[in-house]
Amino acid sequence: MNDSLRDGLRVWWDGAADGPTNMAIDELLAGEAVRTGGVLVRIYAWDAPAVSLGAFQSITEARSHEGLVGLPIVRRPSGGGAIVHGSDLTFAVAVPREHRLATLPQRLYDTVHGALVAVLREWGVPAMLSEPAGTEAEDALPLSEKPGTGPLLCFDRRATGDVVIGDSEANPPRDFKVMGSAQRRLPGAVLQHGSLLLASNQAVPASARHRGLAELCREMGIAPPEPMGLVRDWLRRVGGGVGGGVVEEAGGAFVSAKDAAVVEAARRFREEAWTARR
């Protein structure tokens, strides 16, 4: 590992913002990782239910989806499937490219997702990392079998390393995805977006069928983990995987939504040319 890199994890508990602002701040987060040589996590929310679309997903498909009518859509720089935000915990992880976690895409996935699996198990929840088989939706084939396409929504997809809850030994498997992530590999840093589905989002038809952590635990007769406690345990575990402790920082640690740099960066994410690029 590069000696100039900082060990440990800086965690930034941010507030709520609209989609373009959130994407802009995440991009600046990646720049901050390059500048400091450290691994950063931003935990944030959305000022209203919204959809974030993967970098190359079809805007036509998203806008014509009956279950997403009326929701604002922002396109992420990262890949993966569309996420309906509102009942999830959204996060971004930024890792300098020279860091050992940034060398291979799966390495960062496994560190972030594996930490959640370990912590969920400590809370008594039967969690595991997914193999690319077993689905909760009929059309949720592993993407490797459907190159160039796949279900629109992230929580209808299944990739190796997703966090699932349930019984994968059952036939057919009865496990359900609760965390997925997608990366953008930038010149100086890797930016990973992720979402932990805390509860089912009944307000949005497209995602109402996706059971969240709360519903799945109740169905299994397990007390649902207290979200903030769970997340703090998870971050501590991620910090251990990064090779150090966790430093928590309040909102505005290095940038705020009103900063000129954020407003300027958000402009691109508001443009139709970006949103409808595919």
């Binding site: 190359f56 895409p105 190159p147 160039g148 396409t149």
Partner: protein, 128 residues
């Protein structure tokens, strides 16, 4: 021919061809690291690019990555069938998996890139 191949630190390769052209692709290491590829966007023919500038994007199940031009020049051809058969990148990254042909502004720019031995040593020394 492969002895003349050069590599960028960002994992693109470039191979001089006849008539002052050069072929560009991404290394086997990069393809393997990305895992299952699902989408690729190519540049427009005729576009002028600078060394290090993005000439396309490639998405895998895990990540979206830019493809950077290893040299400055003009894009004169793209492998237009590649996005529909991305498996070619894994099967033959230095042959049929080529991505663009470029007319470099300067041959010296190619010579300044990494030779295969140096590139192999670079990826072999990636932090574990």
């Amino acid at each position: 021919m492969q002895a003349e191949m050069r590599f960028a630190k960002s994992h693109e390769w470039i191979r001089p061809e006849a008539e002052g052209l050069a072929t560009v692709g991404i290394s086997a290491y990069a393809v393997e690291a990305l895992t299952d590829l699902v989408f690729m966007q190519l540049p427009a023919v005729g576009r002028r690019v600078k060394a290090g500038e993005s000439i396309g994007e490639i998405e895998s199940v895990k990540a979206v990555s830019d493809i950077y031009s290893p040299v400055s020049g003009e894009i004169v051809a793209v492998n237009s069938t590649l996005p529909d058969r991305l498996e070619t990148l894994g099967k033959d990254p230095y042959g049929d998996g080529w991505i663009v042909r470029i007319r470099p502004d300067s041959a010296a720019e190619i010579a300044g890139l990494l030779d295969r031995a140096t590139y192999d040593a670079t990826i072999g020394s990636q932090p574990h």
